[in-house]
Symmetry: C2
Subunit: 224 residues, 2 copies
DNA sequence: CAGCGGTTGGACTGGACGGTCCACTGCCAG
DNA sequence: CTGGCAGTGGACCGTCCAGTCCAACCGCTG
């Protein structure tokens, strides 16, 4: 079981030369790929070493210990995932944009051979501990991801097009994505992912205020 | 990395006395609990041994190797999960029944301290391999779970109350549940689970045929 | 009570893995 | 050219862990 460290720095060394930075980068990249495929526990430092053509001392030169390396991998994956959807994620304030995002996510998964779920999701499942929960970096990753979704939804809400809590909808969408990816990974097919996202999108659409205009929907107060 | 075995039996011994069966049972139960909490890789056989007050030779008397034990744990967890929702899962053929199921699942998670996701989900995340996917037992577990949901939905569909593919809806619901549990585990709160299920339920409701109404739905022959 | 199969205890082994240590090399500043 | 420091190579250590082995034990049946 790997526990994320807490407390004092433990930042190990930040490389000061270009070569050093390149090596560190190479290590994190390879480690991220290996851990995505085989899991954190299933990836040994020797494998990372072999995959990068580095030596043991370099790993420990740039990272205090394995959990520090895992921390770096987490940061990288969070950044990577968010960046990959950046364009579609930025301005989700209409059903059309939401569908574009859906298509993008599905396409990415299909391109990846419908194999291997969300890197963040996998890390959470593996690293979450009953008493301390998941590492903060991961929780934060989910949080900003959800916020990005909620931002656009919030705009729709403020425009009076949506009559539900944008945060809850965003959480639901994110959950649908994660669950869809999990099932997709299990069945090695994108179908469950599509089903999950479509169902969630239908749920969002159900909270659309029918006409921009007239009168409140029966039993559902119209937002100011 | 643990791989599930395939090929020849490898069933090890089935206990023939009551005492033997009790011991085997004790081992599987404890192993399931440990693996749910710490993951498969994070649970050593020595820990299982200690938790059950058994000896190494007993573990290897009843299970060929660790992966056989994992297989038994999987079977147990699948059965356990499905059984826990049996009553609510059995006749999901109305929105009311669907909500009852939702409430049941949320209550179970809340009771568990909003900690630790779905046992099956965790196993899938940890054991799924890029090239061979998840162990069949797990995929089957998901499949029967989804079928249970789809059965009720199918009845609604045949009654003309639902205008969508019951299988896709079931997959979406299951994904929402899994994703919701993952987020719940990360944030240690049931909120995301509620949000996920509510959104999915809204999605199902959106596919309800407006009036129960007489006569065939357009384009969809009414079943005899 | 003798024998036997199912069951149990626990020492032992070989290898994997995280982590340490020290000697060396390349690069840049003075 | 040279001293020094970031960067590198890789042998080595202690621990953990899956899996092996054999000697005992229990409870049944003949």
């Amino acid at each position: 079981m790997i526990h994320m460290h807490e407390g004092p720095p433990l930042i190990s060394e930040a490389p000061s030369t270009a070569r050093g930075r390149a090596t560190r980068e190479r290590i994190v990249t390879a480690a991220a790929a290996l851990m995505h495929q085989y899991g954190v526990a299933g990836t040994s430092l020797d494998e990372v070493r072999a995959a990068t053509g580095t030596s043991k001392s370099q790993l420990y030169h740039y990272f205090a210990d394995k959990s520090a390396l895992v921390g770096a991998v987490i940061q990288r994956q969070v950044q990577q995932v968010l960046q990959a959807q950046q364009p579609e994620l930025d301005g989700i304030d209409s059903m059309i944009a939401l569908r574009r995002w859906r298509d993008r996510v599905v396409a990415m998964q299909r391109q990846a051979g419908a194999v291997g779920g969300c890197p963040i999701g996998r890390l959470v499942a593996e690293l979450a501990d009953s008493e301390r929960g998941a590492p903060v970096e991961l929780v934060d990753g989910f949080a900003t991801w959800q916020r990005r979704l909620a931002d656009g939804l919030g705009r729709m809400h403020r425009r009076g097009e949506l009559d539900a809590d944008p945060d809850a909808l965003a959480a639901g969408l994110l959950a649908a994505l994660q669950g869809g990816l999990l099932l997709a990974q299990a069945t090695r097919s994108v179908r469950p992912l599509e089903a999950a996202l479509d169902l969630a999108l239908a749920g969002v659409a159900a909270h659309l205020v029918p006409a921009a205009r007239p009168g409140p929907v029966p039993g559902r107060p119209h937002p100011s």
